[in-house]
């Protein structure tokens, strides 16, 4: 793989297997501080040059801390946000700049499941009308036909079709999430973007929804982008996982590869935080404790964005932004954005950065203004 195409995902760009390709997507939000006379508004670098590709029938997990831009990326993919720059290629077509009218046919092919089963269902509308929305909006079925198809979908997701006339308030959280799934499924889309679909649910209900999503995937051949911050959930559902930090993908690899051979120190740190069910193993394990907080996305750090907190940081990390490419002896589908990747068996919990401390501090003022 040549250096120029190094940033592209592991599969061949023209591969028919690829359903969705995200190329260098950037989304900046202006910071609203006094609208008038604000010539040079600050921007939040929510998503800052993300490239991903998703194969048909697969699930790509997207993990990262709160505020790392995973939800923004999801909303960019389904074009709820307009991109600042970059491209989203769905099924071979560039949809990143389509006007709303031309976007409509693609909306039938890609759907979204939202995080909050309470906020995502209109409290004033009956369930039948909510699930029937796709048919009404695209004028594909009306009257009895629409009702029949809605009840069909309700059955598919394990809801009682008799509950057609109820209001969302009459359902439990898990049932509400099934309603959200039913709405997303109405057109049998190719791609479903799940924005933390289970993080608002009880653990027992989480399992039900995850199993439902898995069943639907094998039944209907769906492709998922699965956003979560629960790493065990992601490991269970995903074929490959992309780790995000401060608007960038730090590592993208097949799920077992990522778990067994994390290359990016951030991934390593995240995985070391996953609780182990075995207390003996848990006690033996060295947790990697990161120092500091996630820096402000308004003024992201230079070079590698992780360098202020990275135990392995060197001067290179401050100066150069690492590319997302295969590191060490990894295959072409294991990408990491790190100059000094973690070797197999390396314990970075004892590592110390070889940086002058001044370089690691973003806001010296906070420490008493040295």
């Amino acid at each position: 793989m040549s250096a120029s195409t190094a940033a592209t995902p592991p599969v061949d760009a023209t591969d028919a297997d690829v359903l969705l390709r995200v190329e260098n997507v950037v989304k900046h939000f202006p910071v609203q501080s006094g609208k008038l006379f604000n010539r040079d508004p600050a921007v939040v670098h929510a998503v800052d040059g993300v490239s991903l590709s998703v194969r048909r029938g697969e699930t790509v997990g997207l993990v990262g801390e709160t505020g790392c831009g995973k939800s923004t990326l999801a909303r960019c993919i389904v074009r709820l946000h307009d991109l600042t720059s970059g491209r989203v290629i769905f099924d071979g077509d560039d949809i990143s700049t389509l006007p709303p009218r031309q976007m409509r046919p693609y909306r039938r092919e890609m759907q979204m499941i939202f995080q909050d089963p309470y906020g995502s269902l209109n409290p004033r509308r009956r369930v039948g009308s909510i699930i029937g929305d796709p048919f009404a909006i695209h004028k594909t079925a009306s009257g009895q036909e629409r009702k029949r198809r809605v009840q069909e979908v309700m059955e598919l997701v394990g809801l009682n079709p008799e509950h057609f006339n109820r209001f969302p308030a009459e359902f439990s959280g898990g049932q509400r999430q099934r309603i959200g799934v039913a709405r997303a499924l109405a057109f049998r889309p190719k791609l479903i973007v799940c924005d933390e679909p289970v993080s608002a649910l009880d653990v027992s209900i989480q399992a039900q929804i995850i199993n439902l999503l898995a069943d639907l995937q094998s039944e209907l051949g769906l492709t998922y982008i699965f956003i979560a911050h629960d790493l065990s959930v992601v490991r269970h559902v995903s074929n490959s996982v992309a780790v995000m930090y401060l608007g960038k993908v730090t590592e993208h690899a097949p799920v077992e590869q990522l778990w067994n051979h994390p290359r990016h120190p951030y991934t390593d740190a995240l995985l070391s935080a996953v609780p182990l069910p075995d207390p003996n193993k848990s006690a033996q394990r060295e947790r990697i404790i990161l120092v500091g907080d996630v820096p402000s996305p308004i003024v992201p750090p230079s070079g590698c964005r992780f360098h202020p907190r990275c135990p392995k940081a060197r001067q290179d990390c401050v100066d150069r932004d690492p590319e997302l490419v295969p590191r060490l002896s990894d295959g072409p589908d294991h990408l990491a954005a790190c100059h000094f990747p973690v070797e197999d068996g390396e314990d970075i919990s004892k590592a110390r950065p070889s940086l002058a401390t001044e370089d690691r501090i973003i806001e010296p003022g906070l420490l008493g203004g040295a």
């Binding site: 909050d116 209109n122 509950h163």
Partner: protein, 322 residues
Amino acid sequence: MSSSTNAATALVEPAAPVAEGEAAAKIEGKSPWRLGIERLRRDRAAMISLGIIVAIVLMAIFAPVIAAIVGHGPNQQFTAPIGQTAEGQPVGPSSTFWFGTDTVGRDVLVRIAYGARISLIVGLVATVLTVAIGAIVGLASAYFGGLTDSILARVMDWLLAVPFLLLAISLVSVIGPGLSVLIIVIGFLGWASVGRIVRGQVLSIREKEYVEAARSLGAGPWRIMFIDILPNVIAPIIVYTSLLIPVTIVAEASLSFLGVGIPPPTADWGQMIADSQSVYQYGAWWYLVFPSLALLITTLAFNIFGDSVRDAFDPRGDQLFV
């Protein structure tokens, strides 16, 4: 009492376990709208004021019947000695003229009945116009945001800053008086307050995930505004509408009182009150008191009803359940 059984079923119904088939079909959720109406029906003040409103509406509808019963037309003048004293003054309440006569010897009772028509028509139609404009502008302003919002919000501020009566008087005197002119002027000058309320509500609702969900399904802005957002702001709109009706009735009466309302000889409460001033000092109290009472009772009934509507549709705390 039937209302208490209603309350019991309302509490039990949604929580009842769902049986198969028929039983499940019978259990149907109550819309927030239905719950509001049920709360309203249990409110005694609301029912009494609604009864008064119905009586006033019936009086307006059957004004010709009242005229036939007492045998006087609304514009029929009775000169001395029947409808006026020998000095040309109005005569007081009697078996012939129950509420007395006015300055030119017309039956005050019959004119109050006919005047109710004007008050109610203007009160209802102008309010509906006000609310319709306000709701649409408020929705569009908040949903589209940006420049649209800046312009519409400034228009609202401007309308709220201008004294209503001054502008209304000058507009009516330029266009010329008339029923439809009155309705349009009141409607166009009054929508800003509705617009502001709706705008504020929509600003918070448009950020909800279900609005995002509708957008991700491909819904256009108008569908989102009217199908997804409007039902969620309808409660404050209904509340405001019911509180706006008496305000509009008073606005109409004020304009007529100032001589820029409905042109004579059409019977109108505001005009009658204005007219009565010339004879009140000579002891014709009935001409001032009865139209004023009619106006007072009507606006009071609408106000109390409006308050109850607010309690029913905008519940806070313990009033949440029927």
